[in-house]
Amino acid sequence: MTTATQGAAAEMAAIVGESRVVTDPAARAGYAVDGETPQCVVYAPSAEQVAAVLRHAADRRLAVIPVRNLTKIGLGQRPRAYDVALSLKEMNQVWYYEPDDLTVSVEPGMKLGDFQHFLSRHNLWLPVDPPGGEKASIGGILAANASGPLRLRYGTARDFTIGMKIATTEGKIVKTGGRVVKNVAGYDLAKLLIGSCGTLGVIVEASFKLFPRPAQRLTFAVAVPALGQARDLRRRIQQSALEPLRILLLAGEAPRLLGPDSGSAGRERALQLWIEAGGSAAVVDRYARALDDLARRCGLTIERLDEEIAAPAWARLCDAPAALAPALPITATLKATLPIAATEEFVGRSEEEAGREGARVAVLAQVGVGVTRLVVLEAERNRLAGLVARLRGAASALGGALVVEQCPWEAKSEIDVWGPPGDDFEMMRKIKAAWDPSGVLSPGRFVGGL
């Protein structure tokens, strides 16, 4: 460690206290990002201290990456520099909670699982099922704009975040929005922060509108022999009056590796379409009848899953890389976003392209919204860049884009994880400069090297 950063660690200690600055090599190694180990880990216990740490880092030109549970830390290019891991672990309080108003304000370090548990007292929830699952933090979900299949019904953080407080590299705490569910006063800075991957400021508090939990939930699974049938059924559902909570198409290795344990050998080879409905008993019953009817018209048979099987299965599906990782070497996780109608075609193309590069993929496609997650298994590292290029080419030919959510950092020298920026990049650069003029927040990790 250099003398400068030793000095910096001491100065950080002056802000947050001796016990909250860790320089122990083993602890620091735990916060490595893409092979870079920070010089120290700083645990900030309050918004003011986050702001003070950022200001200090900016003054000293120390690169800071905000972290919590590291569930999405693989997202981004290799950092240009990385001196301080700023952990928000200690900021895990609910500041404001008005259950009758369905509004809440919470700190970024709160884990989603703990937050949902807290809200369940009043039968409320934040309807989001991101990668990382219960371990994902609120701040991480916002910074990565992480979402899962529930976005079909509820949208993403962008849709239910009503306000935010953000610590800036100038040591200020800036507020946007508020605690009311409708608000158009001033520029909506929260939109910029959501999905900014820790490159603009550090979210120190977020306010949400909450939703009542569906009274009942029921999951249906359909084994589908061919993509065309999957597309046919998805279209029929979309054109019907039904509004499922989530729809997920499992292809490639996904049915075999992530489907319900009870599956027969024949079903494992097929594609699977998973559909979850929510609502009152009468509503859920209607879904059962209607989906059965729609499936039969596509020549398919629908099956109800018991909730004891369905709930853990959905958790696995939403956090597929984590579910697969203990047993299999995961090479990369990719996310393609496409116009809705192109999704099934992309699923087919992705299996072909993976085959060409000698890789196997587990494909999880949110066919109602056009988002496909690909978990790449058993790819040779030196062929990964080629695979990404092929898949990005396929997504782009179908009018979409592809992001590498996670891959070995060694491969990042030859892979642009974000893909090429568009003609709005210059404005993105100006926005970055307005928030982080000294360029110390997650430098180089975002789109176009921002």
Partner: protein, 499 residues
Amino acid sequence: MHPSPLVRELERRVGREAVLWRPEDLMLYEYDALSSRRAPDAVVFPTSTEHVVEIMRLANRERVPVVGRGAGTSLSGGPVVAEGGIVVSFARMKKILEIDIENQRARVQPGVVNLDLSLAVADAGYYYAPDPSSQKACTIGGNVAENSGGPHTLAYGVTSQHVLGLEVVLAGGEVIHTGASFWDRPGYDLTGFLVGSEGTLGLVTEITVRLMRRPEAVKTLLAIYNQVGDATRTVAMLTAHGITPAALEMMDGVTLRAVEAATGAGYPTDSAAVLLIEVEGLREAVDEQADIIEQVCRRNQAREVLRARTEEARARLWRGRKNAFGALGRISPSYYVQDGVIPRTRLPEMLDDIERVAQRYGLLIGNIFHAGDGNLHPLILFDSRDPAECERVVEAASEIIAKCAEMGGSITGEHGVGLEKNELMPLIFSPDDLEMMRRLKAAWNPDGLLNPGKVLPSGKMCGELRIQVSMGSGASTSAVNGRLPSRRRERVGSGGGLP
């Protein structure tokens, strides 16, 4: 009279038939549905993005402000010219460029009228969800600028939740494309940032929106109350029960009587308040929710709960609500509609407060709320020929908005800040908050040519924060009130506070 060199240059770039410059023509572009300040130097009607680029380049060269304009239905002075310059009317950019039902989206030019898009996709069973009361006239470009809402945004969200991508002409004349025709394009969410920026960051020339499928069933209820407090308590209890209707609107007795006289919607004129409640979705869900809603209404002393049995009856109930502003205009020479937001649980308290304000200032205030999301529209009735009364109106409105802020709410829920409330921004934002907004604005609009005088405080105010729009016609330097008597139904300001 001869056109100025600026006008000649505009004519050269976009065509003679696309430029207005005579004073009598410009006068029509002095105001929106809120107020007026001064006439622009020219109004230009581009028909393409290239035209907008040309206009923007010229404005840059000549250092004149540029103000985008849709149908002029804004209620915060958004398209009102504060410092002269060129008004860019999108009235001739009104093509629906693409309807893509398979991908549940449409691409439109900014001048497309909100309702026209819904009508264009109705046969396919789809619609465009944001539905401001002015939806028969207002444009999608205007909705994007103001991040407009409407009764049904309670369940489906305001404009920003329905816009996927934009084509934008920047202050320097460059054209950029934000977002995409799919979700989650990598990079900062410039689309989300631009929606609601009130024309101060760029001129939007194309919009990709999300379309939604029409629900299978709709049920509309009208709950009638003898006490306003019972109605507001019903709203709070419905929210607490986790019932999110598609729309939940409240009108008080003052409003009801005016609406009934004007539209014959079937509202009871002897009641203190009604709730207009709509639930949508699957038949089964709608039936159950309507029953629960009726029970909650009755538990809160609703005197009667009516259900619209036919589509005609439903349309009649909504006609009353959508035309309520106009109806109040019939019983008063002028009115001033406010737009504040409070936490929904505090509606009963807020309504008492508005009543106290009305009494203190000796004014009649009608209340029309998007109650379900705590968005208040108190309508202050007055006579703009009475300067003292005008003064009281501004005081009363400022007090109501300050109260919203004090309750942890917002100074605007859907009308925008514009030039009406930019000086009120410090009620809810700190100097640091505003400084960040100012800096971001400077990144997009470095010379301040795009819609100057809007959104952010001028920095020239000291002391008391109050609404900056003048109400009266007496001291007016503008002749709008006199020459356009029909406008009297809408509140027309005077620009008296400006040089």
